[in-house]
């Protein structure tokens, strides 16, 4: 059932060792797990040993230069600092908090969920779920890609959201991954399984924001996150992902989504933080008549790099996909978008649309965009496009001529550009927070 897009494993003898990656691997595999989890981790570690970190010579990483990551020696931390993270008011009873990738039970709260729904960390799963989780965890396609495998190799725990057959979860489920401390690597991991006919809203947030407001803004750390989402037959998942890491952080995140027949998946991915941020969003269709909606917003300034690589791999007929990705790039920041849609022969009657729109706020800001449709089916509707624009003087003047001052006019226009994505987010408090963030941009 899985579709492989990662490079085929290369024989050990042909590869020069990546010493930096080996060092990182040694650190993340140091603490061992029990039973099947350790087996999964070890086979992932074997993959990592055969791989190297990508460089800008790799097409997929052409604009995302990891050399500054290599300059930092990251460590794994297992202690839990005493913090109070920000939690969504809509989800304060359905929230799991992980600090540096480690589950923080005293900060988490899970209550009042319908029968058949499990929101738990891996280590504390209720009886009977362990075997079921094993069928899914680290099984999504693309699991041998280097950062994904590194995460799996070091996986000591994970957030697990399991929604049973035909269960509708009314309240959103929130997963918060907080980063604190200097120079460490965290491996946030999340597994969501929405069984057939179920319906759920998931909010996944990466942040260094805590209520303590300690001046830890400028810390260097590395979040290497992996989320697997299984949307079973006729199930519906609304997924919101907010990356709001610290200004000096590195963030490499993978979202792998397996979509079964007649399932509906929508993702709102917002990237605001980190000096280096990469989101790999991969959708694998395993049955016909799926619906996929991907909305993305990257908002970066200073010297930030914000890179989104998405892939929708269709392999069955009658699917609909809609993608809108927007980048707002200020100062000397660099936005990257690469969106692939694969429409092979079996995926007849596909209706796929993709649009990437970019707003550059300064003359030094840069965007590289590559919408990429690969179509071999002959009876499909597919469209893609990309635009790059700046704030128009005439637009600002029009607003000024109605009494709105130049600065407010600029903000109004930037807000309007971002609002198209932000308004898709189903959580009102998040919409408000993001709107405020945009106003201060």
């Amino acid at each position: 059932m899985s579709i492989e897009v990662s490079p085929s494993p290369i024989s050990n003898t042909l590869v020069d060792k990546d010493a930096y990656l080996s060092g990182l691997l040694d650190k993340v595999v140091a603490s061992k797990s029990e039973g099947w989890l350790q087996d999964v981790r070890e086979s992932a570690a074997d993959w990592v040993r055969q791989l190297k970190l990508p460089t800008t010579r790799d097409e997929e990483w052409r604009f995302a230069d990891l050399s500054s990551l290599r300059e930092v020696q990251f460590n794994v931390e297992t202690f839990l600092p005493n913090i109070t993270p920000f939690v969504l008011p809509e989800a304060n009873n359905n929230c799991l908090v992980f600090v540096n990738g480690v589950y923080a039970p005293e900060l988490s709260a899970v209550s009042g969920l319908p029968d058949g729904v499990v929101v738990s960390n891996l280590a504390n799963l209720p009886g009977g779920y362990d075997e079921r989780v094993r069928q899914y965890l680290a099984q999504a396609s693309g699991n041998s890609e280097v950062f994904t495998a590194l995460n799996t190799a070091g996986m000591t725990d994970a957030a697990v959201v399991w929604v049973g057959k035909n269960v509708v979860v009314e309240t959103p489920i929130s997963l918060v991954f907080v980063a604190v401390g200097e120079g460490r690597i965290a491996l946030p991991r999340c597994l969501m399984v929405a069984e057939s006919g179920s319906q759920v809203t998931l909010v996944e947030e990466y942040t260094n924001r805590t209520d303590a407001k300690n001046s830890e803004e400028e810390r260097v750390y590395f979040n290497n996150a992996v989320t697997e989402v299984w949307v079973e037959e006729n199930a519906q998942v609304s997924h919101t992902r907010i990356e709001c890491d610290g200004a000096e952080a590195f963030h490499v995140g993978k979202t792998a989504v397996m979509q079964a027949r007649c399932s509906r998946y929508s993702c709102n991915a917002v990237s605001l933080g980190a000096r280096f941020s990469r989101h790999n969003l991969e959708i694998f269709q395993t049955g016909e008549q799926t619906e996929t909606t991907l909305n993305g917003l990257t908002m970066i300034k200073g010297k930030q790099l914000g890179d989104t690589h998405s892939a929708i791999a269709l392999n069955h007929p009658h699917s609909v996909s809609r993608q809108l990705h927007k980048c707002i790039v200020g100062d000397r920041a660099h936005g990257v978008f690469n969106g692939k849609v694969f429409v092979p022969k079996p995926a007849q009657l596909t209706d796929a649309r993709q649009l990437n729109r970019n707003l550059l706020l300064s003359s030094k800001a840069r965007v590289d965009t590559k919408p990429q449709l690969e179509i071999t089916a002959d009876n499909v509707k597919c469209a893609h496009g990309a635009t790059v624009s700046q704030l128009e003087d005439d637009e600002i003047f029009y607003l000024q001529s109605r009494g709105i001052d130049a600065n407010d006019a600029r903000n109004l226009l930037i807000n309007a550009f971002a609002a198209e994505i932000i308004n898709q987010i189903p959580i009102s408090s998040l919409r408000e927070t993001l709107t405020q963030t945009v106003s201060r941009f």
């Binding site: 029009y398 607003l399 001529s401």
Partner: protein
Amino acid sequence: MIIENSEVVLSVRDLTANVNGTPILKGVNIEVKSGEVHAIMGPNGSGKSTFSKVLAGHPAYEVTGGEVIFQGQNLLEMEPEERARSGVFLAFQYPLEIPGVSNLDFLRVAYNSRRKAQGLEEIDAFDFDDLIEEKLDVVKMNPAFLNRSLNEGFSGGEKKRNEILQMALLEPKLAILDETDSGLDIDALKIVANGVNQLANPENATIMITHYQRLLNYIVPDYVHVMAQGQILMCGGKDLALELEARGYDWVLEGTEVGV
């Protein structure tokens, strides 16, 4: 209407302006008093639209000389938003489409910025809804347009109506209508003209900039000015427009060449 001894709203003396280094306005003079409706006519490229943009403060137009006094204040020293707040309104020839900004929100923000400048309290969304309801009637606009993005996907006539709606809301002291009639069919023109006529009163003044005499059948001016080559070459009453329609603009240009 021409009123004896009414206050001078706008006084322009020897105004010159450049666009990208090219002189466009070459000494414009005009005086507009409260209650009056002025029409500025002229061939394409005569500087009519430049004049209107200079009055509104467009940054692409560089004023190189002369003065513009609006209600005793030096207009040229004011930012575009300050001009708007103190009562200058430009109805655009090509109103801009701004996706993502709701027409209603935009109108409220604009209205409140004018209120603030007048030392009045800002009004909330609820009260504003009542107010705008009343103003919609001036241009017979469908309330559905309020919830759409500003001008996005509006037809030419709808955009011009939306301009007059903004004018009705902001109640300017001086309204400058830049080619408000261009591209309108006769029904839309009547609605827009009717809106402008409703808003004109002894306390405000209007400058209409137009290429066509047709508009002046519906909004009757007190004075007609003919602009060409960056200057106002001729002034007269409303009959001048008819003469222009009959004889064309060349007649005015020829007249100046021989020093008339």
